[in-house]
Symmetry: D2
Subunit: 341 residues, 4 copies
């Protein structure tokens, strides 16, 4: 914590700050500058709340200098985490492709997609049985019946299942039928739910909230890890900005930002991240090129009849073509690294 004094702060103002610092049990370091004086704080174990200082007379600003997260950081674990999901891994050398429909609508629809996904070589299948919909009048998912269809897909095609839970009952069900619990963007700061999945044995795919900063995203993962579940996979799925040519703005710079600070794997969802069929492939390729550990791709046998988010789904044929392309980019990047690094 650094407390910056106003240019007209008096000696008493500075002394008052030092006094408050010492009362809190820390050490104060007065740093006179060209026009303003700053007071540095040391000796604190955890973060210091700026509110202790911001309204004291003569104080211009209180600036935090250390980050509030611990378990997610490379300080704690320098090497990248590889997360086991069913019989496969996310965060290792291979590109993890998780594909499937937005929502489970019927056994037939799901199986058509699963066939394409299995054929492509991908190891993970997605599909929502519980759907967080903006309107209460929209299709809300098929619930446990949908989970059973997903379990059949696992059985039949050997794909590992990733599916969303929206509340505790949902987590209990997802744990029973699937391999990975997805926490949606709208629940990224549903702290009760984060704590609950933190006590689960299954890995968690945590989607970035629509307006979450990097710190908030990492702290949401920290909530899960603080309860004992270290198997967290992060997912960028687009943020909310003024930009209106896509449904969301896919913020790919968070991939290197996360990788610099955290050992957790991060994947990219270009389907929700753009909301437009024709943008999914270009942004999926960009996601691989930026260095993500995997992709989340929506596929529907007949997008124009989808009950949910059809506008962004790829057809199985589009998906298969994309799969080839992203593998080619991934290969080009890996070959380069082998030769030059």
């Amino acid at each position: 914590m650094l407390i910056v004094m106003k240019t007209d702060a008096t000696q008493e103002d500075i002394s008052r700050v030092v006094e408050v610092v010492e009362k809190l049990g820390y050490r104060a370091h007065v740093l006179p500058g060209a026009t303003t004086t700053a007071v540095g704080i040391t000796g604190n174990q955890g973060p210091v709340d700026p509110a202790h200082f911001e309204n004291l007379p003569g104080v211009a600003e209180a600036i935090r200098v250390s980050k509030p997260y611990k378990l997610v950081t490379r300080d704690l674990k320098p090497n990248k985490s590889v997360i086991k999901v069913g019989n496969a891994e996310i965060g290792g050398g291979e590109l993890a492709v998780i594909a499937g429909p937005c929502a489970v609508e019927s056994r037939e629809q799901v199986f058509k997609v699963a066939e394409a996904v299995a054929k492509s070589g991908a190891k993970f299948f997605r599909g929502g049985a519980f759907k967080p919909r903006t309107s209460p009048y929209s299709f809300q998912g098929k619930g446990e019946e949908g989970l059973k269809i997903l379990a059949e897909v696992k059985e039949r095609f050997g794909l590992n299942i990733v599916t969303e839970a929206m509340d505790e009952r949902g987590v209990d069900l997802v744990e029973r039928y699937a391999d990975c619990i997805q926490i949606g963007a709208r629940n990224m700061q549903n702290f009760s739910l984060l704590k609950y999945v933190g006590r689960s044995k299954k890995p968690v795919l945590l989607k970035r909230g629509m307006s979450a900063t990097l710190d908030e995203f990492l702290l949401a993962a920290e909530y899960i890890m603080a309860e004992g579940n270290y198997n967290v996979i992060l997912c960028e799925r687009g943020i909310r900005t003024f930009s209106n040519h896509a449904r969301n703005t896919l913020d790919l710079s968070i991939v290197p930002a996360v990788q610099k600070i955290s050992h957790l794997p991060i994947i990219v969802d270009p389907s929700h991240g753009t909301g437009k069929n024709y943008m999914v492939s270009p942004l999926a390729k960009a996601g691989v090129a930026v260095g993500a550990d995997g992709l989340l791709i929506e596929v529907h046998p007949c997008p124009e009849e989808a009950l949910c988010d059809g506008a962004q789904a790829l057809t199985p044929i589009q998906y298969l073509e994309l799969y080839q392309q992203v593998q080619a980019i991934h290969k080009a990047l890996c070959e380069y690294e082998e030769v030059f690094v």
Copy 2:
């Protein structure tokens, strides 16, 4: 729904759109324009999913023209709703001031603030027993013990209690001790929780999510109302934007926007909306002037020692002064209306 064709759409493309419209059971109206043709849809009961059309050949865009909400609208109930909270009302002629500390920290702290709030003439008291904190290592609230202190405040000062619940267990407890269940910004699209409070008998104060559009905000209220609880009070508490001189950007234009469409009352929270002590009073006054039905104000006996959000709390003295000023503005506005309208 209006489907806009591309400039180079063929006659077949248009026929294909008409066909899909009719297959869905609606009527299609072809509208040739100067450079582009549009197809209007009528005969639908609820909203039509644009995904049915967006990827058809020759289609440029599918534009929704009717809104997906029903119960929140003035179409359904032309007059403003007045919501009973304990023994007082929100949405009637009087300005509803809900004041109190961010978090319940101790009986002493809460009582000091409650004394000032009661003295001011306000009828509602706020204070959090369950705190949604960005970091798992921050103070998380005192839980049921905190609720008991709030119940004592009600008993002793006759103030009506508004307090947040973050999950189902929390709702059950808040229902027992308090008069109004607050749903925080981070849970605005926690649809499971919205449905749960929709089955409660207590009124709900619903805060706008940090990145919620007007439609999403109203649909979150619609989720609650669709379950049978019509006692919803909306609350603007600042949105997330690039602007960094305040903690959030208080979006006061949503007050007239809500009032145009909806019969629900809406209040303003300048404390979270700015996050800075010195901005709370000016923005509270602005909130009253823009026509809000009330204010949510954080007050702490000693802001620099607060366990949560101290930077934005008013001291009891600042609060009492503010109370006078907002009443003066409210009076000036009402007098004007009596004379001129």
Copy 3:
């Protein structure tokens, strides 16, 4: 400047930072903390570029602690500036209302509005002769002919004229015919133009850019003042955010934020700030209540026939009613201050 080291920074990394600081001629203060070490810099005259440090080994972050502006600040001039515009003032005790059409369309249109403006008691008239339009095919303003009509308004009604200039030729013309040069939001960082009006004798009304931070806004004013023109009036006109119920998001919190740092007056433009007729009055009232020095209001005799921005214009009757209301709020605020402060 404060340089925060990574938790795993070595003693050499710290020494290298100290060395760079000293090579730049400043003093370095090493501050060991609980988990991270920080290095404070003093002895600098102006701001230090963080780029000198951000990529050195072991550096986590370089944080600026002093602000780069000088002339705009209350450090330099503690009392509020009162700016003379023609024969009236902005920033004194009186609320400055600047009203008129978005664009000068015809002598008749302008005179109809001017009559209402003069009748209300306002002292300033606005109207654009040079219009910055998003599309090259939209009406671009009447140029010098429009300025002549505005000069007639001044002559006939005694109103002081505020009008926009978009380039140097425009500034020369506006100086000749009008009392105050407006710099539009899109030109807030047109630094060549800022320098040019900085050498003008006429006061400048500087609108905040759509995505300008507080610092950038104040530095744009600093550009003008650094050339010798100290007569700058700031204007909040809405920022660009995800929020889509209004054309822009009026960010009223910038009013107290500016007033805390700067002696310059600041006014509010609820017409561009909302873009919707029905929102202009509520947000104008909020602008006065938040403490702005004045308002910029668009009025058109027949909004539905306006060549530019008709959706946000008030009719003369709506304007006259609004004028009464904002004066009533202003009076209530002033009376309060007389009694209690």
Copy 4:
């Protein structure tokens, strides 16, 4: 244009809308729906201003359905434009890499970078002689002296020069010494300047404004083209959002969005787009993978001593490595297309 009526609009309200439409010389098509009636307009040549309708009684919304740009669109020119810049091209099959320092600081600095750029195989060199700086006290560029150094680079290394102009005098000078005039993000809606470069013979590199929508971006290009200069290259350089881990949010989805509508080439600037050295390479690779026609990369011989934006500059060694990688990705994408398309 589609005018949507309120649910309680009367028959007279609808007739009034039809009347206004016909008075404007267009045709009105009344479309009764389930709950609301809409009125479609046809027969208009250009866009219709929604302001004509938005405030009429009974009108809920006026929705634009055709786009206001012409010359930038594929409707006009279905094939992609290839823009000649000096002796090379942008928009053809080859990836265009434009590299160099943010600002021209000295002959020595520029030549060191130019050597690396020429060695890499890139054909374009960038460097600013006129620098738009947020603060009037920051280094503003070396002006004509800087342009002369750039002209020497062209002479010595055969690189084609891209450099920014901020005003008319600057354009005249840049035209004399360089091959391509850059218009910076802050001037994207400086319409006077756009018209001026629209009358130049040199190609223009137009950077997206920090808060520009796709439509505004394309219309800025339209301003240039409408004056007769068809040689426009678009450039995404990051937008302003709440996201704070990078200096800007690089919005790569605009690349496919532009390519769908427009024939103009579009390149990506990951240096300004991220503002952080360690993010430049990953985002540059993403920019190529998303399908951009080229990259704008900042390189400095000694980033920590740069007078401007050092934090985002690559060293020559980092740049050379990046160049290899982006070519590998470009090759992988092209090979794929040859085989499969």
